[in-house]
């Protein structure tokens, strides 16, 4: 019975993912085919005057640009089903390879920032919740509200100005030092390059978790069992450890898993500021350069990425919290 339910759940989720991917690919393909940008022109770039009409026609023929839109979509879709996302126009190599390589770089950045912002956000959220109404709560709340209206890229620029330009502690950008082969770069050097982007992304991600944790903790602290624990003589940190943390940890973790989309949004901006060679930078270049296969590939990939985050959040709730599990698995 139990396994049957789990199987049904998995089946439902896979079905949802498939419909989602089909819908997103149709939507993004339609959007892109509306674009006024001429792919041949963006491919050739500044040498446009040196390319004759026949050559242009040849390129269009080679790429199948003269076929109907539906035909193009079917072509792309059937290749997609075979795991072939096409060849990137900008990088001249398979889209899957580029996404894999870029995503690894982004994953280092996003993963670190995700962990740090989660821990730090949970910490200051808990402090604010425990000390509700005091000056420290006000400072943390004010800090979070300010962060919520701070542009991520501006924060990155500020950090570059302070730590790289004025103090010279960290490199200004890039994933590795210039002029050194990627294989020769030491781990320490890589971490040095990773530090500022991670810091930027972590600071931006804190606000959401902190405010949510604070709100939840205040709700918990107003409950009857906390009053009872208070009456028994449990106060402060001990009370938080025994009754608070269990009740607020799960919502915070789930919320954090469900924020993959925003995380990637922040990563796009951060990578742009620091010229960090990740997936975010690739999507910007693909968009600006009219690299349609890469753009479509990244959109689909990010959809899966965000879906996985939401799925984990959903599962966590069901596995850990029995109250929800009983409802509908």
């Amino acid at each position: 019975m139990h396994y049957q339910r789990i199987a049904l759940y998995i089946f439902k989720k896979i079905g949802k993912l498939i419909t989602l991917l089909v819908a997103v690919s149709i939507l993004s393909f339609t959007l892109i085919s509306l674009s006024p940008i001429d792919p041949v022109r963006s491919y050739i770039g500044a040498d446009m005057t040196r390319v004759g009409p026949e050559q242009r026609e040849n390129i269009a023929e080679y790429w199948g640009l003269n076929e109907s839109k539906v035909q193009k979509f079917l072509n792309w879709g059937s290749h997609l089903l075979q795991g072939d996302l096409g060849t990137s126009l900008l990088y001249r190599s398979p889209v899957t390879a580029i996404i894999a390589e870029r995503f690894l770089a982004s994953l280092a950045l996003m993963g670190l920032a995700w962990v740090f912002s989660g821990l730090f956000g949970f910490l200051i959220g808990s402090i604010a919740g425990m000390k509700e109404g005091t000056w420290i709560d006000r400072i943390i709340k004010g800090y979070c509200y300010t962060l919520a209206s701070t542009p991520a890229f501006w924060l990155g620029l500020l950090l570059v100005m302070i730590f790289s330009v004025s103090l010279g502690w960290f490199p200004i950008g890039l994933g590795t030092p210039a002029g050194v082969l990627a294989g020769d770069v030491s781990l320490l050097e890589r971490l040095r390059h990773l530090f500022l982007p991670t810091l930027t992304l972590s600071i931006v991600g804190v606000a959401n978790v902190a405010l949510h944790t604070r709100q939840k903790l205040i709700e918990v602290l107003n409950s009857d069992y906390i009053r009872y624990a208070n009456a028994k003589g449990e106060h402060g940190f001990k009370l938080f450890l025994r009754h608070g943390i269990k009740n607020i940890a799960l919502p915070a973790i789930s919320l954090h898993f469900a924020s993959f989309g925003e995380l990637f949004g922040g990563a796009v901006l951060t990578e742009q500021v620091f010229s960090y060679p990740g997936l975010g930078q690739a999507v910007v270049q693909a968009g600006l350069g009219g690299d349609i296969p890469l753009l479509l590939g990244i959109v689909l990939f990010m959809t899966i990425f965000v879906f996985i985050g939401n799925l984990i959040a959903d599962i966590l709730y069901k596995v850990i919290d029995p109250r929800i599990r009983k409802g509908d698995f």
Partner: protein, 278 residues
Amino acid sequence: MKGITKKFNLRQRTIAKIILAILFLIAIIVSGLLIGNDKLSIQLDLKNSAPSLAHLFGTDWLGRDMLARTLKGLTISLGVGLLAAILSSLIALAFSLLASWNKTMDAMITWLIDMFLSVPHLVLLILISFAVGGGFTGVVIGLSLTHWPSLTRLLRGEVLQIKSAEYVGISRRLGKSRWWIARHHLIPHLLPQLFVGMVLLFPHAILHEAAITFLGFGLSTEQPAIGIILSESMRYLSTGMWWLAFFPGLSLLIMVGIFDILGKNIRKLIDPFHGQKG
């Protein structure tokens, strides 16, 4: 501070905050509109000067006054944000009313919301600006098409609640059409929520506008939008010209913050049950 808190009640303080925020925003708009092109003229003898009394925000590499450019940029951002927020809320209103039509429609709208929420905002924005070809229209269309889902979800919940109310059932049995019910029962109830939602969409819309412009998909480089100013400043960062990025970004932050305060206080006023929490 304590004295002020005691003298006025919460309602008076909330209204005072709203008025102050609106005055501040009007000041930004008026000064942005008053600044003519002569203020933005190129004065090469004044280039790259640090902030001083004559040029509070300093000047850029062409000697243009950064304060004037920033104010102009804020006005543009505000216009884009306003337009996008209004369009987004209209989409949200239309969809939430459609969702009240029947079960199938409701399921479709919910599915649409889920789909739009499952692609990262910024990626969708890049995709839409790519489709429309960038520029002012591209940004406005992109922002309006990406910001409606959360508000629609909120309004849809509200609609479902109102729909089950008795007076709506009576109206239906009296033979009133769906449109009549929507106009007389649903929309008046939704308006306050819609208005608050719209004001709270502003900060998001403006921040996303700046972000997308910064990345190079948004407004064209001739318009001194904040995103353009900041992306240009990136090239001069290593020379130590910190004021090029610092003040415009800070001004944007303050404006976004004011909109946030405005939205939260208006909600406090017209939706006290939810507004006074947190």
